[in-house]
Subunit: 410 residues, 2 copies
C-alpha cells in the first residue's frame, strides 16, 4: 500500500475520516457513521434471515435476561471517559441504533465513499442474527463516581445498586471488576457476538473505553440444563420460577424502584476460577457430596429427578444445594463457562464459571446466599472468586428511545 | 464436606485414588481409568447421537485436516516430561482410546466405585459428538531434543520438520510456540472440544504437561467462505485444490518421506495479532488494496467472483493476494479467529487469527510465502506474528493401533 499510495495519503485519509466522523456525529447527533441500509449494502439476502433466529431489542423488559440461554457470551464493561452529558447521550444513541440493527441481522452500510473507513467492520456480512441479544447494565459509578455526581443524576440511582461487598474468601482483581456500563452480549454464533462488542467499542471512541471483557460458552441440548466444567448441571433451580409470576417475584424490579428501573433487574457477576485439576482428582462420592446432587442425573440427594424438591435432611450440611436452600431465596442464573490461558508454571488451565444472576433485590436475594456460601460452601476448596460486578439493568426500551434516556432526560 | 467426612478422609481418598490410577495404568498398560461403557454409564441415549455428527478417528489420513471446518478449535501443545519410552507409549495408548471413544460421542464410564475419581469429567454427558476431530502433530523436539535422541527415534524424523525460522518482522513469544506434541481439537460445540483437551491433559499426568493452549472460532454459513476479523473472506484459495488429486499435490506427504509420514501432512501454526482498532480506522479503499480483494464479494481486483482467478496486472504490488500468487505455491488453510484480553492501558482487545495451514512440503510451499509476506505484505502494518509452530502429522490411524506406534515401534 505504501508503494501504491504513499504513507502521507493513507495517514491523511485516516485523519480526515476520523475528523469527518466526529463532525458528522457532533452535528447530527446520530451521524453518518450509522447510515443504515439493510437492502443494498449487505450481501446477506433478506430471505436468508430466519425470523425465529431474531430476538427484538424493544419490549417491556430488556432481552437477554429471561431469553433462553444462547451458546456464547461476551460480558464487557466500559469506563465513561467524557465529562459531557451530551456526548454521553450521543454515544448511547449510536449504541441503541447499532443494537437494533444488529439484533435484526442487519449490517451497517460499509461505505458510500471508499475513502472513508467502512461503517461496519464486516465480519458478519454472511451470518444470520443468531439470536443476538444485548443487555445493558449501569454500575454505581455511572451515577456517582468517587462521591461525584458526574452527570447530575445521582438522585436517580436505583435502590440496591452497590458493589458487592468484600466476601470472606474473595480474591477479586479490580482490573476485571466493576465499570460504569456493562453489556452482556449473547448469541448462538461467537463471531456475531464479538462483532457487536467490537462495534460498541468503535462507537464509544472519545466517550468511553473498554475496561474489561470476558467470553464464555454454554453448551446444552435443548430442554436440558447445561453442565458446568465440574461436570454438574448448572441452573436447575431456575425451573422454580419460570413463569410470568415467578419472574415478577424473582427477576423484575418493582414499585420500590425509580420509574426507569421498574421491569428492570440487577445483574450480579462473579468470575469464579475452578481448580479443575484438583476437582478431577476428587472421588465421585466427594464431588456429589459437594454439590448435594447426583452427577449424572442432577437429582438432589434423596430425590429421584433433577427437578424434584430438595430435602434438607438428606443433604450434607455444607453442600452447595443445602446452603442455597437454607437462604430460602431464589435468583435467576445465567452462567457461562470460560477457558483462558495456561499457567506456564503448573501447566494448569485457567478455567471456570462466569456466574451471572439476575434478581430484583440483590441485598435480599443474593448477598446473604453469597456470604453463607463463601463461609461454608464445600465448593470453596475448588473455587476462587476473582472478578465481581453489580449493574442495574433498566426496563426494556421503547422504539424510538435510546438506552439510558429515561435516566438522562428524566 | 469437611463437616461430613473430614479433611483427612478426603485427602486420603484423593491420594489413594491417584495411587490406584497409577498402579492400574502401570500394570495393564491401558488401565482401569479408561474402562469404557457407552451403553450403561452415560445419560446420553444412543438414539440422540446423529451419525452425520460423527467423524471417525480411523482412516488413511488423520481427521481434522481436510474435514470441513468446524466452528471451534483448541490448539494445545504438550511437553513430554517422562524419559521412559514405555511410559510415553502408555500415554499415547490412553489418548488413542479416549479419542476413539469421544469421536464416537461416547463418555468414559464415570465410576464403578464412587470412592474413586470419575474416569470422565462429565461435562459432555448430554452433548452430541458435534463433529469432534483430534489431529496430532509432532514437533522437531519429539525426535531430537537439544541434540538429544531422547527416545532412540532420531533417525525416524521426517524430511521437512524444522521450526519455522525467524522471519523479518517476527515478535514470537517462545512460551506460546513449539512443543513436543500438538493436538488440534475441533468441534461444532466448544464444550465438546474443551472436554477432549482437558481429558488429554488428565491422561498425560506424569508423562507430559500442557505447554500452551489457544482457542479459536470460525463462523460461516455452510457453502460460504468464513470471514476473519478484518471482515475479509479467509480461505478462498483453498478452492483451488479441493479434489483428491489436489490434496495429493498440496496436502499429503508423499514418497520422499518415511513410511509413517506418507499420507500425513505438516501443520504450520502462526498466532497473528490483528490491530483491529487501527484497521477499523482505515478507509475501505485501503483495506481492499491491502488484501487485493473486494471486501463484500471477496473477488480479486479486476475479477467478478470470489473464485475467479487472480490477474497480477490488476493487483497492487504488495497486496496479500498478489504476494501469495507470486510464489506460485498452494497451501491448505484452516484458520480460526481468536479474542483474548483487553490491554488495560489502551482499552484495545487482543484479537486476531490462529493461522493454520497444512502442506506436504513447508520448505517449498510455505516458507517462501511467509518470508515474502513478512518483507512486503501491505498487511504488515496491521498484524504481528506472536506465536509459531511446525508439527508433522502422521498418516491416519488403523483400528487397534495407537497414535505414534508407527514411529515408536518401527
Amino acid at each position: 500500500m505504501e508503494s501504491k499510495q504513499g504513507i502521507s495519503r493513507k495517514d491523511f485519509l485516516k485523519l480526515s475520516a476520523a475528523a469527518g466522523m466526529g463532525i458528522a456525529i457532533g452535528a447530527s447527533g446520530v451521524g453518518a457513521v450509522l447510515e443504515i441500509n439493510n437492502s443494498t449494502a449487505t450481501s446477506k439476502s433478506t430471505s436468508a434471515v430466519k425470523e425465529d433466529d431474531m430476538i427484538p431489542l424493544y419490549g417491556i423488559h430488556q432481552p437477554g435476561i429471561i431469553t433462553p440461554q444462547q451458546t456464547y457470551m461476551y460480558l464487557a464493561a466500559f469506563r465513561i471517559t467524557t465529562k459531557s452529558k451530551s456526548d454521553l447521550i450521543v454515544m448511547l444513541k449510536n449504541w441503541t441504533k447499532f443494537c437494533n440493527l444488529s439484533a435484526a441481522g442487519g449490517t451497517m452500510k460499509l461505505s458510500d465513499n471508499s475513502l472513508l473507513p467502512p461503517a461496519d467492520t464486516g465480519e458478519t456480512l454472511d451470518l444470520l442474527p443468531s439470536n443476538l441479544t444485548l443487555t445493558f447494565g449501569l454500575g454505581r459509578s455511572f451515577f456517582v463516581d468517587d462521591e461525584h455526581d458526574r452527570f447530575g443524576i445521582a438522585q436517580m440511582a436505583p435502590r440496591y445498586l452497590n458493589d458487592i461487598p468484600r466476601m470472606p474468601r474473595d480474591n477479586i482483581d479490580p482490573a476485571i471488576s466493576g465499570g460504569d456500563i456493562c453489556v452482556q452480549v449473547c448469541a448462538d454464533d461467537q463471531q456475531v457476538a464479538f462483532h457487536a462488542v467490537r462495534n460498541l467499542i468503535r462507537l464509544s471512541t472519545g466517550q468511553a473505553s473498554l475496561k474489561w471483557m470476558q467470553e464464555g460458552f454454554a453448551s446444552g441440548t435443548p430442554g436440558k440444563t447445561p453442565r458446568n466444567l465440574f461436570g454438574f448441571k448448572d441452573g436447575t433451580a431456575n425451573e422454580l420460577h419460570l413463569s410470568s409470576a415467578g419472574y415478577d417475584q424473582v427477576v423484575w424490579a418493582g414499585d420500590d424502584e425509580p420509574d426507569w428501573m421498574r421491569g428492570g433487574s440487577y445483574l450480579a457477576y462473579r468470575k469464579i476460577q475452578m481448580k479443575i485439576e484438583s476437582w478431577d482428582r476428587t472421588s465421585l462420592a466427594d464431588q456429589e457430596a459437594t454439590f448435594g446432587r447426583s452427577k449424572v442425573s442432577g437429582a438432589a440427594f434423596g430425590a429421584h429427578g433433577e427437578f424434584d424438591s430438595v430435602d434438607l435432611s438428606q443433604q450434607p450440611a455444607n453442600s452447595h444445594v443445602a446452603l442455597a436452600k437454607q437462604t430460602k431465596q431464589q435468583i435467576h442464573r445465567r452462567a457461562y463457562s470460560y477457558t483462558d490461558k495456561v499457567d506456564p508454571r503448573t501447566g494448569n488451565v485457567d478455567a471456570g464459571l462466569l456466574f451471572i444472576s439476575y434478581q430484583r433485590n440483590p441485598d435480599q436475594q443474593l448477598l446473604p446466599m453469597l456470604r453463607l456460601m463463601q463461609n461454608k460452601d464445600a465448593l470453596n476448596s475448588y473455587v476462587s472468586h476473582v472478578g465481581s460486578g453489580m449493574f442495574a439493568c433498566p426496563a426494556g426500551l421503547k422504539e424510538g428511545r435510546y438506552f439510558g434516556q429515561t435516566i438522562l432526560e428524566a
